[in-house]
């Protein structure tokens, strides 16, 4: 029974999140096409595809002018076939469908590492690098801040605790900004870590997967550190305060009165009840990390979505920019969904509501 109820909960969340994604994509298309940008991308993509069809040797015997004419005809036909000669309201729905199915057209300037011109390929190729770096950063931050926060809440009022309180305001400085300083110190001055990028060309040439992995790790040190430093003081401080507030709840005192040993008080009475809000905090952290990725990747030249975005901005590659927005909508949606499910597993309220 409970399983069925939970499936219902998940289905409901999937539907809601999907709806938001649809809206986000429609807004994207609407904004982008205010100057007809989407129309242009679609048309040029179709034109290229039609042109490809006319490349074959069987077309070579036509004279160029006639071929051009046939091509134009074919292009018009294709437009009509896809319903793209209709008013914007209808076209926009077609575009929306394309976006939802990740049919994102062709890039104007950028290509993927494998040489593809399709926006989908360009973006999907970069997605894993971004997800890898920033999920690691968020998870590391989460664990470090939890552990230190817990420690501080146990020793609250101590010198160390006061130090963290004092330093907490410094966390307004974002990770990418600390990144600049870290590059300055460890790359420019000390020359012990790379300025940026994913992996050294030299290492790639060795074709040794172990060396490759180690080198990627080496390139991750600075970006990860920048995010950890940025979140450190405030993260630990707020976790500490959070635990302290949770440990003044009446039921904690009641448990103490009952004689529940300190260990169990911490796990069952402080940590467990505070888990749902902690999960929410983690979700927000992950969501922020996706946005923060764009600028951090620019600083560290990390070849992920952010670097593609930066390149697309500078080359004015609209198709890629729209594609990035689409992927981001999906990425955020997926993140929220996963964490919703996690939340549902932990919070008895949801378990009960859908479980019985």
């Amino acid at each position: 029974m409970a399983v069925k109820g939970f499936a219902k909960f998940v289905a409901k969340r999937v539907l809601t999140i999907f709806l938001v994604i649809v809206i986000a994509l429609y807004v994207t298309i609407f904004i982008a096409n205010m100057g007809g940008v989407v129309d242009e991308i679609v048309k040029s993509t179709i034109k290229m595809e039609v042109a490809m069809r006319f490349r074959g040797p069987e077309w070579q015997r036509y004279d160029p002018e006639e071929r051009e004419k046939l091509m134009l005809q074919e292009y018009e036909l294709e437009l009509a076939r896809r319903g793209l000669n209709q008013p914007f309201l209808i076209r926009s729905v077609i575009y929306l469908w394309n976006a939802l199915t990740l049919d994102l057209g062709r890039a104007e300037y950028l290509t993927s590492d494998t040489g593809s011109r399709y926006v989908r390929n360009i973006i999907l190729e970069r997605l894993p690098t971004t997800v890898m770096l920033f999920t690691t950063a968020t998870v590391l931050n989460f664990l470090i801040n939890m552990a230190v926060g817990l420690y501080l809440s146990r020793h609250h009022g101590s010198k160390l605790d006061k130090f963290f309180i004092g330093m907490a305001p410094t966390s307004v400085i974002p990770g990418w900004f600390y990144g600049i300083f870290l590059i300055l110190i460890f790359a420019s001055q000390l020359h012990i870590l790379p300025y940026g990028g994913l992996v050294d060309v030299e290492i790639v040439k060795t074709r040794d997967p172990f060396l490759y992995a180690m080198d990627v790790l080496k390139h991750m040190i600075l970006p990860l550190s920048s995010w950890i430093i940025s979140a450190f003081f405030l993260g630990c401080y707020s976790n500490r305060t959070f635990f302290l507030i949770f440990s003044t709840e009446d039921y904690v005192e009641a448990a103490r009165a009952k004689g529940v040993p300190p260990r169990q008080i911490e796990t069952k009475y402080i940590l467990r009840p505070s888990l749902p809000p902690i999960i929410t905090g983690f979700a927000l952290g992950l969501i922020n990390s996706w946005s923060g990725a764009i600028i951090t990747e620019r600083v560290f030249n990390w070849p992920g979505l952010g670097t593609v975005t930066y390149a697309a901005i500078n080359l004015f590659d609209s198709a890629v920019l729209i594609g990035v927005t689409v992927i981001y909508a999906y990425l955020l949606g997926a993140t929220v969904l996963i964490l919703d499910i996690l939340y549902g597993l932990i919070d008895p309220r949801i378990k009960v509501q859908y479980g019985r």
Partner: protein
């Protein structure tokens, strides 16, 4: 007279705060007989909860002073180590229902487990046995077995209160401290809980320390009444004596502030602000608000005068 089960002698509990030392419990002495219920009444902030916590030794971190004697059947439990106290006294002998019982339940643990938990800890029962006893305790307070698997948010306020009482009773203690057990409940639920407490007391031979700021409510359950003001106990008397003829000027004021059905008299409010526990008034703590105050009151703290048959009053008026 029956046996005395609990005695408090010169009990003190002071808190250290930014503004100074808060004298929340100041030289408190009283006796509790077996099977008796003592109502502890007084305005909000006078130190009632602090006294309860001092007895069951559940102290916040910012303790400045914690001294005196608490005798449980003659044994001074203040002398026990923290571990001994936790093992031998808390819940085994003295249980407590906290103020704001609504929040005394962990939102993510099932009711049954929470009620059974003291058994798992103190009596080292196995889970099955503990659960059986928990079901029994819940049944006694009127909660059906099926609720064992529920979470607190599925319960009404009255049911939560009953659960917390069950949680306190499950280990069969001798003394139950009830800190405002009905204050957040509506009138009907309040009455239900009061009836339950009366029933339990009779059936289980319990002694109560019943804390309330509602002097009307205390009359339903109390055998004896202790009035607290500014961290001190001002008057102790048999319930009948007290309600008929309160001796201390503060008690009189308190009684007058209760709306009654019998008389047309409007309830009076006690004029003036509650005293500061950091810088309490000199002499008798009540003198700035006392209508009967005279010279001596502001200069010397009155001792306790025995008016006979255990009626104790801390007021200069009775020195004459």
């Amino acid at each position: 007279m029956t046996d005395t089960i609990l005695q408090s002698r010169n009990l003190k509990l002071y808190y250290a705060t930014r503004k100074g030392v808060v004298k929340a419990v100041n030289n408190v002495s009283f006796d509790l007989q077996k099977g008796e219920s003592l109502a502890l009444v007084g305005e909000s902030g006078c130190g009632k909860s602090s006294l309860a916590k001092a007895i069951i030794r559940l102290l916040p971190r910012n303790i400045a002073t914690y001294t005196g004697e608490v005798l449980l059947e003659g044994q001074d439990i203040m002398k026990l180590s923290d571990t001994q106290f936790r093992r031998q006294i808390r819940w085994k002998r003295i249980s407590m229902v906290f103020q704001g019982a609504m929040n005394s339940l962990n939102p993510v643990l099932k009711i049954g487990y929470q009620v059974a938990e003291p058994l798992l800890i103190h009596e080292e029962l196995d889970k099955k046995e503990a659960k059986k006893r928990a079901v029994e305790a819940l049944r006694i307070v009127g909660i059906h077995e099926s609720f064992v698997e529920r979470y607190p948010f599925e319960l009404s306020g009255g049911m939560k209160q009953r659960t917390v009482i069950a949680m306190a009773l499950v280990t069969n203690p001798d003394i139950l401290i009830l800190d405002e057990p009905t204050s957040a409940l509506d009138v009907i639920t309040q009455a239900n809980i009061m009836n339950l407490l009366k029933k339990l007391k009779k059936e289980m031979q319990l002694s109560y320390i019943f804390i309330t700021h509602d002097i009307g409510l205390s009359s339903e359950l109390a055998d004896k009444v202790a009035v607290m003001y500014a961290g001190e106990i001002q008057e102790v008397a048999d319930a009948d004596t007290f309600y008929a003829k309160p001796a201390h000027p503060y008690s009189q004021k308190l009684m007058a502030s209760v709306p009654t059905l019998r008389t047309e008299k409007k309830p009076e409010f006690i004029p003036g602000a509650p005293p500061s526990l950091v810088n309490p008034p000199s002499g008798c703590k009540f003198h700035p608000r006392c209508p009967s105050a005279f010279d001596r009151c502001s200069k010397e703290n009155p001792p306790v005068f025995d008016l006979g048959s255990g009626h104790l009053v801390k007021c200069w008026w009775y020195a004459k």
